[in-house]
Amino acid sequence: MTDLFKGYKGAALSSLKSYNVRVWSEALIKTTRGDFNGIILPRSENDDDRHIVLKLPTGYNVGIDVDTITDMTEHGYKEAHYKIPEKEFPTSPDKPNVKLFGTGGTIASRLDYRTGAVIPAFSPGELY
């Protein structure tokens, strides 16, 4: 069950549940500040429990204050996974192995919605 509401807790989680709207759904959120349309994204566990994250059709993300929400409806569902495309990794048996030590950096990483941070890209195919 919690998997449908990735990262959400407290007030934000109850709000999503009460309107029966899932993470990755396309939703229309009516608020006291006007209407917002977009895809509900997971929220970082480290952020507060008062906002819902929405990806707008223009590609930008915004947060919606749950206290301002007057209605929320789901009209689609589109799960996306951030993934680094793996390329076939060429190896030759006659050459010695090489060890790589990852020292961080956004470019050599992929996004982790759970923490809102990045985790290192790890497979040789992802790095290639």
Binding site: H51, T58, G59, G63, D65, A80, Y82, A108
Partner: protein
């Protein structure tokens, strides 16, 4: 993955002289008309195709012509905010260095990264293909380690956030509950990190124009980019002083249906931002991107339009360029099948081309000459695309940007602008070399051998796109109203959440506080000026400088009519600004002080127009001395009028004019200086006319 080299520069003088030589050598090509002498029929293909497209100058084009084209236009307006600091670091905002004044350089190469949804962006890939070395010039005073991504962002500048929110409220947008900072990829090099930090403040607003409402898609708060110093071959140089300064971007829906409406919306949005009193003005402080499309065409983004006044001509020409490209596609598809279409290219042996070598005798040994045959492209290369531009320019512009071949970079087989045309003998040799057929067109390109594969790819790609119509791209507007290719249009796949910034909640309390003192709407400002009977020729000046509140204050507190103050600012002050920039120390409060001074002394307000130039030049002068400087002395009404009979006598003795006003004019001329400030000039004239001569 990013290479960095820092060196302290010692030889900037040497560099700048090389630069100026290169600019002279390879700068913008001449915009010469078609005076070519190839002995074709009198009516050139350029003229024939221009007629086929139905191109008309803007002054002859009616709104119904634009609706027949399906003209649609939207704007993206960038406006710098008046803050003390940059958006995500503590460097000062608004300080500019000379482009040759810097303490260090950083060198970088850009690489595309994946978007949040795991895709590469087209523009990013194109930029990667150009294999550019990017050099950043840094000055300690205006940049720190944040700008080059060696330090994570600091907390967002609150001043910038509040100004942006205030303008978002003025645009009637829905304000977000939480500001999320996004990284937007920019691989053209204009940002050293390869991305811009940006976030949405509000969505879905509107502004009222005279004929329609224009809807706002969104307003965002973002960092400004670097200023470009030069872009030659594989090296692009930027200066970082402007980088990171806060700006807002307002994006409209494509609701404008004529070029004039687009300009009207541009002005409205500018006045609106200025009326906040919290944005920057001056060169580069506000820039427009203009999106244009027609039926069957594509959304083309004309970037960085410096003046709103340029928008009508640029959008007009872009609409017809799209029409021309659609005509080209129709013509090509008539006889050719794009799936089987294939260009042929050959290395051209030196000595084969006499005409070319007389033009470019010193081509370096590393350079190659390539002849390209474009099957079925006869009369396409010289096909009209814009005033003084043909399809061959579409190839040439892309060769410059994507393959880094400096212009001139192409010669073509068809009659068009002189500098693009192959000589007769060279053309014959090329046709033979390529085994061309009658309906084919030929181009000759040259450049460093490493750039040639990309160059051929670029020509192939652009020619294939011609079968489809209008390629997706961003273009750069030129002052003559035409545009050139800038980049492939970026998609939505360049967004990535900024993992270095936490979301920033936007509380109801803050919105309520800001809502309380919003300035009046611009449409009400227009109404106000009309009510005051201020002449219309001052509106653009008064609104773009946000002077309505200044008029209100001066007229309200100094006993002047708003119409007088409107003219005083919109005519007298504007004229002074036209001659010379503001002297440091001069301000609108000086003007207020001056008006107050004149009112307190009970002087007639016409004297303000004589006093203002002195105060403009010497802002710290005591107002009493201004009166001395302009030669004012206090004289009573009676004393002034007492001169009239003598002057009238004098005039009648010498006058031969039949003009009934001549006498009054001449007497006024003689008394003007004495009267100024002491008596209302209109009143004086009436008195002279009536023959009331003081006694």
């Amino acid at each position: 993955m990013v290479t960095i080299r820092v060196k302290v520069l010692q030889d900037s003088l040497v560099q700048s002289s090389i630069l100026s030589y290169l600019l002279r050598r390879f700068g913008y090509e001449r915009c010469k008309l078609f005076e070519g002498d190839r002995k074709h029929s009198l009516e050139t293909n350029y003229e024939i195709s221009k007629q086929r497209v139905g191109y008309k100058p803007r002054r002859d084009t009616l709104p119904s012509d634009y609706s027949a084209l399906g003209f649609k236009c939207g704007l993206e307006i960038h406006q710098q905010l008046m803050t003390e600091r940059k958006l995500f670091c503590r460097c000062p905002a608004g300080l500019y260095n000379d482009k040759t004044d810097y303490d260090a350089e950083v060198v970088r190469h850009m690489r595309p990264t994946l978007s949040e949804l795991g895709e590469y962006d087209g523009t990013a890939l194109m930029e990667f293909r150009t294999r550019k070395t990017i050099v950043y010039r840094l000055k300690n005073r205006t940049a720190c380690t944040y700008e080059v991504d060696d330090t994570p962002p600091f907390k967002i500048d609150r001043q910038a956030l509040e100004i942006a929110l205030r303008i978002a409220l003025m645009l009637k947008t829905n304000i977000v509950g939480e500001l999320h900072i996004t990284r937007k990829q920019y691989l053209d090099g204009s940002i050293p990190t390869g991305f811009q930090r940006t976030g949405i403040i509000g969505i879905e607003g509107e502004i009222p124009l005279s004929n329609r409402k224009v809807r706002i898609i969104q307003i965002s708060l973002e960092e400004d980019s670097c200023r470009e110093v030069s872009d030659i071959g594989h090296m692009r140089t930027y200066i970082t002083d402007r980088l990171g300064m806060p700006l807002i971007e307002t994006v409209t829906y494509p609701d404008m249906t004529t070029p004039d409406e687009a300009a009207e919306a541009g002005y409205y949005l500018r006045y609106l931002a200025r009326s906040s009193g919290q944005v920057r003005s001056g060169i580069g402080a506000a820039r427009q991107d203009v999106n244009v499309s027609i039926t069957g065409g594509t959304r083309i983004e004309i970037k960085g339009v410096a003046h709103i006044a340029w928008i009508p001509e640029l959008t007009h020409n872009e609409a017809f360029r799209q029409k021309a490209l659609l005509e080209i596609a129709e013509q090509l598809n008539l006889n050719l099948d794009v799936a089987r279409w294939k260009l042929i290219h050959k290395n051209v042996p030196p000595r084969l081309l006499s005409g070319f070598y007389s033009m470019m005798p010193d081509l370096p040994a590393s350079h190659r000459l390539i002849a390209v045959n474009l099957p079925g492209f006869k009369n396409i290369l010289s096909f009209f695309t814009q005033p003084r531009r043909v399809f061959a320019d579409e190839l040439s512009d892309r060769l410059k940007v994507i393959a880094c071949l400096e212009k001139p970079n192409i010669l073509v087989s068809e009659h068009c602008r002189d500098e693009l045309v192959l000589s007769e003998t060279d053309l014959d040799s090329l046709r033979e070399l390529l085994k061309s057929r009658d309906n084919d067109a030929q181009v000759l390109i040259w450049g460093h051998e490493d750039d040639i594969p990309t160059a051929i790819e670029t020509i192939d790609e652009r020619c294939r796109m011609a079968f489809e119509g209008v390629p997706n791209e961003t273009r750069k507007g030129l002052p003559d109203g035409t545009t050139i290719f800038e980049r492939v249009l970026p998609g939505a796949d360049r967004m990535y959440p900024d993992t270095d910034s936490a979301p920033i909640p936007i509380e109801d309390d803050l919105i309520e506080k800001l809502q309380q003192d919003l300035p009046p709407e611009i449409c009400d400002r227009f109404e106000q000026l009309r009510e005051w009977d201020v002449p219309e020729d001052t509106y653009e000046y008064l609104l773009s400088k946000n002077l309505v509140p200044v008029i209100e204050r001066i007229s309200g507190e100094c006993g002047l009519t708003p119409r007088f103050v409107g003219c005083f600012l919109g005519h007298t002050l504007k004229r002074l600004e036209g001659c010379k920039p503001w002297t440091p120390g001069f301000s609108y409060s000086k003007i207020y002080g001056l008006a107050r001074f004149v009112a307190d002394l009970g002087l007639d307000n016409a004297i303000l127009k004589e006093m203002l130039p002195v105060v403009y030049e010497h802002p710290n002068i005591v107002f009493d001395s201004v009166l001395t400087t302009i030669g004012y002395s206090k004289i009573s009404r009676e004393q002034i009028l007492s001169h009239v009979p003598i002057l009238r006598q004098k005039f009648n003795d010498v006058c031969t004019s039949k003009n009934p006003n001549a006498c009054t004019d001449w007497i006024m001329g003689n008394l003007r200086k004495m009267a100024l400030g002491n008596i209302c000039l209109a009143e004086l004239r009436a008195a002279i006319d009536k023959g009331v001569d003081g006694d």
